[in-house]
C-alpha cells in the first residue's frame, strides 16, 4: 500500500515538473545558487563598506592586468608562430631547439618560470659583461610579460602547428609546382588557410592568459590580484577583496 502511495506522489511530481521547460528549471537552479551565496554573504558578515572603500584601489590594477595580458599575447603569438614553423621544419637545429623550448616550458609550472625570470635572471647578471648586466634585471611588469609570453608561446605553438598541418599537403605541392619557394608557400598559401583553424583556440588562450596574469602579482606587480590580496591580508578581509572587483 505505502509503495503505491510513494509511486503515486512521484508520478504527480514528475507530471508537475514536466510542465516546465529546461530553461525555466535552469533559471530556478541559478536563482537558488544566487540566493545561497547571498545568505553566505550576510552570514559571514561581509564588510560591504570595506569593499566599497577599497574598490577603487583594487580596480586601479585593471590597466596593468590588461597591459600584462596584451603584452604577453603580443609576445606569445610571434613566438608560437616561429616555434610551430621550426617544429615542422627539416632543419635539425630549428627542430631540436623548438622541441626543447616547447617541452621545457610545458613541463614546468608557470609560477616557477615567473620566479626564474624575475629573481633568477638578475643572479646571472653578475656573470654577464658589465654593459649587458642591466638587461638581466627586469622590472616585475617586464618579467611578468616575458614569462607569460614565453609560457603561452609554447602552448600556442602546438595550436599553430596543428593548424598548419591541417592544411592539406596538396596545397603546398601545387604552390611549389608553380615555382613558389618554401617561404612563399608558407606565407601565401599555408598560413592564410591555417589561420582559420588557429584563431578560435587562440582566443581561448588569451582569456586564460588574462586569468594567469594574476600569478604575476606574486612578484610584486600591482595588478588586480596583488592589490586585492595585499589589502585582504592587511585588514584580515581576504574573503571580501577578491570578490569586490567582480
Amino acid at each position: 500500500m505505502t509503495t503505491r502511495t510513494v509511486d503515486g506522489v512521484r508520478d504527480a511530481i514528475e507530471a508537475w515538473l514536466g510542465r516546465f521547460s529546461f530553461r525555466t528549471k535552469l533559471a530556478v537552479v541559478w536563482a537558488f545558487i544566487f540566493v545561497a551565496l547571498a545568505v553566505l554573504f550576510v552570514a559571514f558578515q561581509f564588510d560591504t563598506q570595506f569593499m566599497v572603500d577599497w574598490l577603487p584601489y583594487i580596480l586601479g590594477g585593471v590597466p596593468l592586468t590588461i597591459l600584462i595580458s596584451v603584452g604577453g599575447i603580443l609576445l606569445a603569438v610571434p613566438l608560437a608562430l616561429v616555434a610551430a614553423l621550426a617544429r615542422i621544419s627539416s632543419n635539425p637545429v630549428l627542430y631540436g631547439v623548438s622541441g626543447f623550448y616547447i617541452s621545457f616550458i610545458r613541463g614546468t609550472p608557470l609560477i616557477v618560470q615567473i620566479f626564474f625570470i624575475y629573481l633568477g635572471l638578475p643572479q646571472l647578471a653578475s656573470y654577464a659583461p658589465e654593459a649587458l648586466a642591466p638587461l638581466f634585471i627586469l622590472g616585475s611588469v617586464t618579467s611578468g610579460i616575458l614569462a607569460l609570453g614565453l609560457n603561452y608561446g609554447a602552448y600556442m605553438a602546438e595550436i599553430f602547428r596543428a593548424g598548419i598541418q591541417s592544411v592539406g599537403y596538396g596545397q603546398a605541392e601545387a604552390a611549389q609546382a608553380l615555382g613558389m619557394t618554401r617561404w612563399q608557400t608558407t606565407r601565401r598559401i599555408v598560413l592564410p588557410q591555417a589561420v582559420r583553424t588557429i584563431i578560435p583556440p587562440t582566443g581561448n588562450e588569451f582569456i586564460a592568459m588574462t586569468k594567469d596574469s594574476a600569478l604575476v602579482g606574486i612578484v610584486g606587480t600591482q595588478e588586480l590580484f596583488f592589490r586585492a590580496s595585499k589589502i585582504g591580508r592587511q585588514y584580515f578581509h581576504s574573503l571580501e577583496t577578491p570578490s569586490s572587483p567582480r
Binding site: G168, G170, Q171, E173, A174, A175, Q176, A177, L178, G179, M180, T181, Q184, R188, I189, P192, Q193
Partner: protein, 253 residues
C-alpha cells in the same frame, strides 16, 4: 614537330625506402609532343611525372627540361634550389584533386604565382590570368571562390593557373579521375585545344583511351616502375606486343 627533346630522362631511378618505384627510366619528349602514360595503379606513373618537375627528387639519373639539367646526387642546397626553381618555371602541373587555393578567388588563384614568383605587376598578372581563364572557358567565374565551382570548372581553373606561368611543358596527373563522368568531356576538350591550338608539350597520365587515340602522339605503358612498351596510339592499342600491355588494354578498353 621539333626533333630536339624538350624533356629528357636518362636512367632515372627512384627508391622510396626499400621500394624501387622507378627502374632505370630513359625517355625523351619532343617539343609539342603529347604523351599519354598509362598503367596499373602503383606502377609509378605519378612518381615519373613528379620527377620531371622535381616534386620528387630521383635517387639516381639525369633529368633535363628545356635545357636545364638536374643530375641526381648530393648538391649544395643553393645549386639544388636554383635548378629546381628553373625547372619548375618551365613546367606546369595539373593534379587529380585540383589543389586550387580555397582562400583565394579564381582570378587570384591564377594570378598569385606570377606576382609572387615572377614579380609581375598585379594588373599584368591579372590580365594574363584572364586571358587563360577565357581560354579554358571560366572567365565568368573570376570572382568566385573555388568551393563554388563544379569539378570540371575547378580543373579548368587549375589548368589556367598552370598556364599563366607560361610553362614549356604541361604535366597532367589523372586530370579527370576525380570528376563526375558528365564533366570529363569539358576538361578533355580544353586539353585537346591546348595541344592543338597552342602546340603545348604535354605529358598526361590518363586512362581516357578516346582522348589518347585522338590527341596523343605517343602512348607509353608502365608496369612496376619500368617502361614496357610505347608507340603511336593506333599501333599500340591494336598491336601491343608485350602480354602485360595487351592484358591491361583488354581490361580498360
Amino acid at each position: 614537330m621539333d626533333t630536339n627533346p624538350i624533356v629528357s630522362l636518362r636512367n632515372v631511378c627512384k627508391w622510396f625506402g626499400q621500394n624501387e618505384v622507378l627502374k632505370d627510366i630513359t625517355m625523351d619528349v619532343a617539343s609539342s609532343e603529347v604523351i599519354v602514360i598509362f598503367g596499373r595503379s602503383g606502377s609509378g606513373k605519378s612518381t615519373l611525372l613528379r620527377c620531371v618537375n622535381l616534386l620528387e627528387e630521383p635517387t639516381s639519373g639525369h633529368i633535363e627540361v628545356d635545357g636545364i639539367g638536374f643530375e641526381a646526387g648530393p648538391h649544395t642546397s643553393r645549386l639544388r634550389r636554383a635548378t629546381v626553381h628553373d625547372i619548375r618555371m618551365r613546367t606546369g602541373m595539373v593534379f587529380q584533386e585540383f589543389n586550387l587555393f580555397p582562400h583565394l578567388s579564381v582570378i587570384q588563384n591564377v594570378s598569385d604565382a606570377p606576382g609572387t614568383v615572377k614579380k609581375m605587376q598585379k594588373k599584368d598578372a591579372e590580365e594574363l590570368g584572364m586571358h587563360f581563364l577565357e581560354k579554358v572557358g571560366v572567365a565568368d567565374k573570376k570572382d568566385e571562390h573555388p568551393i563554388r565551382l563544379s569539378g570540371g570548372q575547378k580543373q579548368r581553373v587549375a589548368i589556367a593557373r598552370a598556364l599563366t606561368m607560361q610553362p614549356k611543358v604541361m604535366l597532367f596527373d589523372e586530370p579527370t579521375s576525380a570528376l563526375d563522368p558528365e564533366l570529363i568531356g569539358e576538361v578533355l576538350a580544353v586539353m585537346k585545344d591546348l595541344a592543338g591550338e597552342l602546340g603545348m608539350t604535354m605529358m598526361v597520365v590518363t586512362h581516357e583511351m578516346g582522348f589518347a587515340r585522338e590527341v596523343a602522339n605517343r602512348m607509353v605503358f608502365m608496369h612496376e616502375g619500368s617502361l614496357i612498351e610505347e608507340g603511336p596510339p593506333a599501333e599500340l592499342v591494336r598491336g601491343a606486343k608485350d602480354p602485360r600491355t595487351q592484358r591491361f588494354l583488354e581490361a580498360v578498353l
